[in-house]
């Protein structure tokens, strides 16, 4: 393999992994607070369409990012309200969010173009890769790791910060306590409902940002079904990452890498039908999930927050 090939595969891997990484760490934050949000796919796709529409009309990519995150916050707060205040079944609420989000995104995609026309095929502003001065001269890494767009660079800072926040700070401790054992957290004087709302909404904003990275950077523009199951892969990656933001990076690189290999093989004119190549990420998700579940089972380690998916009501004993 030539250096150029390695560089290009690594470059695509990181680019493709960024949206997955945002969605995964968003879901990790949510689940760490004990809320299972299966609406990731729906939030991502709404983030993608609203982000692109806003950027298209204002000609400002950052307005797109802001609007996408706002949309993500609104979507996630529906889930928070149903799960926290109304103690609804979280699995079904998340599915509802995905069905609703998919429909809403398709609807908006057909209405939010110029003068109520569809958005499909429109060209808007986008994030382009910027190489970092000084670091760009490093062989291989310079033209891959340090030749990305701003949203990708942001993850280089966000992930370590988030790890530190969750594991080493007092608010991070409260977050973990609420997810592991809300009764105890409540007794400690932590506001369980408030914290669950907060992290579900912040998580939703990050998930929507992942969607916006697709429509504003990775594959600029809007098409129906743009997210193509990435939200669900992110849900699987949370398990793969054992709820740890740093391990989420490994997962995102793994799945970004599959995308990169897929592109390479298609570009090289392989005889394998495209449909089979397109199955790879989904089949791989199942395989990875089976292996990690089996492995964690052997080590008798349960990575999931203790109270994941369970509503908390102070007046009721479990």
């Amino acid at each position: 393999m030539t250096i150029a090939l390695i560089t290009s595969i690594l470059w695509v891997t990181i680019r493709a992994g960024t949206s997955l990484l945002y969605a995964t760490i968003g879901e990790i934050l949510t689940e760490r607070a004990g809320i299972l949000n299966l609406g990731v796919e729906g939030i991502m796709i709404v983030g993608a369409v609203t982000g692109f529409a806003a950027a298209f009309h204002t000609k400002q990519v950052w307005v797109g990012v802001g609007v996408a995150m706002l949309a993500g916050a609104v979507m996630a707060s529906i889930h928070a309200f149903l799960s926290v205040s109304l103690r609804a079944e979280q699995v079904v609420s998340g599915l509802a969010l995905t069905i609703f989000g998919t429909g809403l995104a398709n609807y908006l995609g057909q209405r939010l173009g110029p003068n109520g026309a569809p958005l499909v095929g429109m060209v808007g502003p986008k994030f382009t890769p910027v190489s970092l001065p000084g670091l760009a001269d490093i062989p291989i890494l310079g033209k891959s790791v340090f030749n990305q767009d701003v949203l990708t660079y942001a993850t280089y800072l966000l992930v370590p910060l988030l790890w530190y926040f969750v594991n080493r700070t007092r608010p991070g401790l409260h977050l973990r306590a609420v997810g592991e054992n809300p009764q105890t957290a409540d007794a400690m004087g932590v506001h369980v409902a408030g914290i669950r709302y907060f992290y579900t909404i912040v998580g939703g904003m990050l998930i929507a940002l992942g969607g916006a990275h697709l429509s504003l950077a990775y594959t600029p523009g809007w098409t129906e079904g743009l997210t193509a199951g990435r939200g669900w892969i992110a849900v699987a990656l949370v398990i793969f990452a054992t709820w740890d933001p740093v391990r989420a990076v490994v997962g995102a690189i793994l799945f970004g890498g599959i995308n990169a290999v897929q592109f390479r093989m298609q570009a090289a004119g392989t005889t394998i039908p495209a449909a089979f190549l397109n199955m790879l990420p989904y089949a791989f998700t199942i395989v990875v999930l089976v292996l990690i579940t089996w492995w964690e089972g052997i080590r008798k380690r349960v990575g999931a927050p203790g109270a994941l998916g369970l509503p908390y009501a102070r007046e009721e004993k479990r």
Partner: protein
């Protein structure tokens, strides 16, 4: 003023009927806001949808056509959900059912020239149900023996099944005389499900109703139905009672997948008479709403299946007549589910509003309680 939730001693029957109805009304109001915000008139839109779905003999027949896969998949999802096994793979199980039925219709007569033609349809039905069941069994095995999260596996298998049938009708199975249309050659006439004259309503409707009756009997009258309910309500109690979890995971998913597979058979043998693009249009996902809104009860599933089929047909109609995206129907589906979820709370809880006329006794030695709802 304080608003509190109080647990009811018994689930409310009235709420069981009122909640889905009120949810539907609130969802329409909520959807109306979205329509308004994007410059469409909600009243005109809804009227067009209602007329498009139930306004004529033809409209009603088309609604029934779409109700068939929704009821069958909805029944399958409902059985699994009763056990809190989250099968969201009905879409893929339907696709595999369609695939197996198509294989039988297209290739079996060539392999077995002596096969009496009247056997073709029954074999297609068996093959389709088997294929759906097998596709559902894989996530069940993984859940039962490795503990893999079934939400993700059932969903990932949807994508794989859809790509698989697309590969077939775009690739090796594509009809060479089809002018490039993505679909297989048409099935022989013996492989067509009989239709009610003058409409596209096919025998699948009878299958759906029979399936609902059988399922209702099994769930309410047999020991197995009882086991499924116990596992759903309290898996730990089920284990102590000696109910095998893994056996029931497998059984439930065999039934669930077979029902979705049957829906796939109905679509290819009753409607398109070939395997073609447009087999997987989201019935498997809508089935989740059908099951939940029907409160996981077979009769509820039948009723809601017809109602939501009307919503889909109405959505297609406004796309044609008002040039509004049919996705409106999908938005409304999601919204209905939100309100249903919120509303189910009132089956189990009642709202108590303390206006503050009766003061609570002051306990000066204790710190003031937090203002949590």
């Amino acid at each position: 003023m304080r608003i509190r939730l109080e647990r009811r001693l018994k689930p409310s029957r009235a709420a069981g009927i009122l909640v889905p109805l009120i949810s539907l009304i609130l969802a329409l109001a909520f959807g109306g806001l979205i329509l308004l915000a994007t410059g469409a008139n909600p009243l005109v839109t809804y009227k067009a949808m209602a007329v498009g779905a139930f306004g004529s003999r033809y409209a009603i027949s088309e609604t029934l056509v779409k109700a068939i896969p929704l009821i069958l998949c909805g029944l399958g999802v409902a059985v699994a959900f009763r056990m809190r096994f989250w099968n969201i793979g009905a879409e893929g199980q339907l696709a595999m059912g369609g695939f197996a039925a198509a294989w039988v219709a297209l290739f079996l007569p060539g392999l077995l020239p002596d096969l009496p033609p009247k056997w073709l349809l029954p074999l297609m039905i068996v093959a389709g149900m088997l294929a759906g069941a097998v596709w559902g069994l894989i996530p069940a095995l993984l859940r039962a023996f490795v503990g893999v999260n079934e939400v993700i596996t059932t969903l990932m298998m949807n994508y794989i099944a859809i790509l698989w049938i697309e590969y077939l009708f775009y690739g090796p199975w594509r009809d060479p005389k089809g002018y490039g249309f993505p679909g297989t050659a048409p099935f022989p006439q013996e492989a067509w499900l009989p239709r009610y004259p003058g409409t596209r309503v096919h025998l699948g409707l009878v299958f759906a109703i029979v399936a609902a009756i059988v399922l209702w009997l099994v769930l309410t009258r047999t020991k197995w139905g009882y086991e499924v309910r116990v596992i759903g309500e309290n898996p730990r109690a089920a284990r102590y009672a000696g109910i095998s979890l893994w056996r029931n995971f497998l059984l439930v998913m065999l039934v669930s997948g077979a029902l979705a597979g049957l829906a796939g058979v109905g679509e290819v043998a009753g409607i398109s008479h070939r395997l073609q693009k447009g087999l997987t249009v989201g019935y498997g996902y809508t089935a989740i709403i059908v099951a939940w809104m029907g409160q996981l009860n077979p009769w509820g599933v039948v009723l809601v299946g017809i109602l939501l089929a009307g919503l889909l047909v109405g959505g297609d109609q406004i796309q044609i007549t008002m040039r509004l995206p049919a996705a409106v129907a999908l938005v409304l589906q999601g919204a209905i589910l939100f309100f249903m979820l919120g509303g189910v709370l009132f089956n189990q809880y009642r709202l108590r509003v303390d206006v503050g006329l009766r003061r609570r006794p002051v306990r000066p030695t204790l710190p003031a309680e937090g203002g949590e709802s």
